[in-house]
């Protein structure tokens, strides 16, 4: 069965930043394009995205269904769950590896790529309407997910709006600060913060925090500490 909702979400998640890259070009792309045109978003993100999906899916299987590891057909059903942060980490490793291979300065490519990646993730969240429906707290203003009698405030859309604002801010930061570590840490902090805050209002089974919520809090806290340290370090080296 083709999951059209997921397919539509992926087209939107890659299509929107690919088009935005015409105005936010990736000047430090670590690929040799055959034409004079600079490498596009898809050129540099498809490899990392596949690596991220594979690692994210394997992590989900290792946590929820270890017996399926080794069965290719089971592993390929990504709708059954992909852990977000292990996937992001794997994609980042591939981006860093490509950057090193191309002999580019450390973190120059991730720093250029993160605003577009954030917009791509925002587009994915905004496309919630094509997947499960956009859930959130009950609200007068909102959407009615299929099978639900009340309206809910679409958290996916609010997340998308917050992520787009954060992406614009991170891009502005990238043009102002020299430290690429600051840019990458700020982007990670913003995404983890948005996910952690949104998880408060997303429906979940049971009273405890979901795995998505816990991991996002941990990543936001870690990125916050890293951001503080690298910002202080950058300020010291400027002085």
């Amino acid at each position: 069965m083709i999951d059209y909702g997921l397919l539509a979400s992926m087209i939107i998640a890659f299509g929107v930043p690919s088009m935005l890259a015409w105005w936010w070009p990736l000047d430090d792309a670590p690929v040799s394009a055959p034409s004079d045109e600079p490498a596009g978003f898809l050129d540099v993100t498809l490899g990392p995205a596949f690596a991220g999906l594979a690692v994210g899916r394997l992590t989900t299987l290792a946590l929820d269904d270890p017996n399926s590891i080794g069965s290719l057909s089971d592993m390929l059903i990504i709708r059954s769950g992909v852990e977000f942060w292990p996937g992001v980490a794997a994609a980042a490793v591939v981006v860093l590896w490509a950057e090193r291979r191309a002999g580019l300065p450390h973190l120059s490519h991730p720093a250029a790529l993160v605003p577009l990646a954030m917009v791509g993730y925002a587009a994915y969240e905004a496309a919630c309407i094509f997947r499960d429906g956009c859930f959130g707290p009950d609200s007068e203003i909102g959407l009615q997910p299929p099978g639900v009698s009340s309206r809910m405030f679409p958290m996916g859309w609010l997340m998308a709006a917050a992520l787009i604002v954060a992406a614009v801010a991170v891009r502005a930061l990238a043009s102002r600060v020299r430290s690429r570590s600051v840019v990458v840490a700020a982007a990670t902090f913003a995404v983890a913060g948005v996910r952690a805050i949104a998880s408060i209002w997303l429906p979940h089974v049971g009273d405890g925090l979901t795995r998505q919520h816990v991991t996002s809090i941990v990543i936001a806290a870690t990125a916050g500490v890293v951001l503080t340290v690298v910002t202080a370090s950058a300020a010291t080296s400027r002085a």
Partner: protein
């Protein structure tokens, strides 16, 4: 011989129609796939009837006919029932079962989670349940009539029945935690 190099304005004017075409293609593709995703078939015309039958015991796995299945649903009227149709050969079924177990534990007494194995070998289905250590009740669709009467088109499929026994939602394919919790909470009112 030197080739004339096109100036930037030429390149820019060539790029605009190409980019517009790409935008149109992406919008058309996403629109078509998204529309297909949203075009859900209507809910099946199914309403359980007959004499009420007690819910199978926790951890049990009994073979039932369509009439017996309907009896179980009738017996549960007064609280929402989540019916999950699965098979041991279906990977997404396996992945979502711990979530259903968690829902069964969380909403114990308020809502019922009932698994229905269908189009499967009963021994393999039973072994599969043992492997996962599930405790919520499961039954085996002996004749295949349950899946036919519920208009099943995909594995897994999850149906949410209202407290009055009407189907309120159907989720084809794996169900997310957000959606499962949202549907149960809404059905509970």
């Amino acid at each position: 011989m030197k080739h004339a190099t096109p100036d930037r304005s030429d390149t820019g004017s060539r790029l605009v129609p190409r980019r517009l075409l790409v935008v149109a293609l992406v919008v058309a593709l996403a629109g078509w796939v998204g529309w297909t995703a949203l075009r859900e078939p209507g809910l099946p015309d199914f309403f359980a009837s007959g004499d009420p039958i007690e819910l199978p015991a926790e951890g049990s796995f009994t073979s039932v006919s369509l009439e017996e299945f309907e009896g179980i649903l009738v017996g549960q009227q007064g609280r929402p029932v989540v019916v999950n149709i699965w098979a041991s050969w279906c990977a997404p079924c396996r992945t979502e079962m711990p979530l259903l177990q968690s829902a069964a534990d969380t909403y114990a007494g308020q809502a019922v989670i009932l698994g229905v194995a269908s189009n499967d070998d009963p021994d393999e289905a039973k072994a599969f349940l043992g492997e996962l250590g599930l405790t919520y009740p499961n039954v085996f669709d002996t004749t295949g009539e349950i899946r036919v009467s519920l208009g099943l088109t995909a594995y897994p499929t999850t149906y949410v029945f209202d407290a009055d026994g009407t189907i309120r939602a159907r989720v084809n394919g794996g169900i997310s935690e957000q959606r499962l919790a949202g549907l149960i909470e809404d059905a509970l009112g």
